[in-house]
Symmetry: C2
DNA sequence: GTATTTTTGTGAAAAAAATCACATATATAT
DNA sequence: ATATATATGTGATTTTTTTCACAAAAATAC
């Protein structure tokens, strides 16, 4: 059983590795990765050790091998399909963001209740909410993003889950009522900012929470 | 020295308390707060104990008193001024978001290098980047949000810090080079999604990382 | 007015995560 | 070939965070 923090560190290593690879690096030592990801070299090695990844006593790790292993662990070898509900300000920002596709994540469709939104954004179809269930089943989608107003979030969530979705990235600052088999990651930007402001005001050092 | 997680829990309690208050509640027991915030009742009491907040052995905590204490600890008794740099898709979404003001956070101004963006968004002035330093000093701003393209983030960060900013909420998925006295909270949405997908794919239960 | 129930509060214990200490392998230099 | 420097790898240790166990206070019931 692994923790979220651990997986996020693996993702970070992977990101850095791709950049190193594109720069022509063949090998990398734990120290390089540590510098680039804000963890200690020891933590890097421990993580790899735990992940069953092994390097050379001198000369560190082979970049290609590392990427391959991490991709395997992180399930990055096929494109990950997601849907999005709520084609508003933040939803549209996400739909136009190129960063997801670069990581093999594709927003296959978006849904809204406002007919004015139907059509396309970028190359992503925007469909009526009623078509969600069918779309999710047909395309075997397992992951959804919620960017609807707070009041609508629970109801959209319920629809998603009953349609077969297993994991939700939720931008509404509410606690979704759910069951333990569903994975929910909440993005609460107000809280991120409140938190930041707290540490700024008190002058206390935020001990480098990852992410 | 407190951790980020701890402060975030306090923020969550506070949110729930405001809602309870608006519903007319005068008192609350640790169990209620626990249910609403996805932590255990014990954790709630421990947190309060640590924060020097004390309740009644029966009848729990006074809502008003709790809110007051939490506001005090979290520095919520005055409006928190922030600036934003990068009036693009995500920057604009944030500028139009009402959730910040509801929590006493005000985006005082935004900055960009594209003259087409100058003017206003909602009621927030959008100014040339060159005016940042002056604005920050004059208005004694301590907190900034970075929503510029990845390539520009470090440079904008440097400008912010050299202008007197002490804390940054960074949306660019890069590691900002900084010094230990500066607080940085990174929001990495790709990683949130990658992480979610990992737990969906493996069927492992993500042990409820807060936030 | 005494017993019972409810709920806080905290020192102690357990669990989880990070770090240390050091053994081990391998490349490079001499 | 031997010594030296560089890095990994892991059991042990420390630190941090959460949970347990139970005492104490206050309301309610009998
Ligand atoms: N905008 C931000 O910067 C920001 C920041 C943090 C959190 N959020 C949260 O993100 C969510 C969306 O914010 P926004 O600013 O993009 O809002 P928005 O009003 O711009 O967009 C909401 C969209 O959801 C659609 N919608 C409403 N009810 C729906 C339903 N039942 N089913 C499907 N679609 C529905 C609306 O038609 C609209 O297109 C909110 O919960 C908000 O709290 C936004
Ligand atoms: N859009 C998203 O959903 C999303 C999601 C995750 C992360 N991000 C990150 O947020 C950042 C912004 O993304 P976006 O989609 O809003 O981009 P965008 O291109 O829509 O907007 C960027 C804005 O920054 C301005 N800008 C560029 N260089 C600048 C500089 N040196 N100083 C000041 N302003 C400058 C541009 O004029 C533009 O207005 C990126 O780092 C991106 O990786 C965005």
């Amino acid at each position: 059983m692994v923790s979220k923090k651990y997986i996020i560190r693996l993702c970070r290593y992977r990101n850095v590795l791709y950049r190193l690879k594109s720069m022509g690096f063949m090998r990398v030592v734990s120290n390089n990765l540590a510098d680039a990801t804000d963890v200690t070299a020891l933590q890097v090695r421990k993580d790899f050790s735990l992940a069953g990844i092994t390097g050379n006593k001198k000369g560190g790790y082979r970049v290609d091998e590392l990427i391959e292993k991490l991709n395997q662990i992180l399930g990055k070898n096929e494109i990950q399909k997601v849907i999005l509900v709520g084609v508003g300000k933040i939803g549209i920002a996400l739909m136009y963001y190129k960063g997801f596709e670069e990581e093999g994540i594709k927003i296959e469709a978006a849904f809204d209740i406002d007919p004015q939104k139907y059509g396309k954004q970028k190359d992503i179809p925007v469909l009526p909410l009623e078509r969600l269930r069918d779309f999710v089943k047909t395309n075997n989608i397992k992951t959804g993003i919620i960017t609807v107003p707070d009041m609508a979030a629970q109801q959209v969530f319920n629809l998603m889950i009953s349609s077969g979705i297993k994991g939700v990235l939720n931008f509404a600052p509410i606690k979704l009522r759910s069951t333990p088999d569903i994975v929910i990651n909440n993005v609460n930007l107000v809280m991120e900012l409140e938190n930041l402001i707290y540490f700024v005001n008190t002058g206390e050092r935020n001990k480098g929470e990852i992410l």
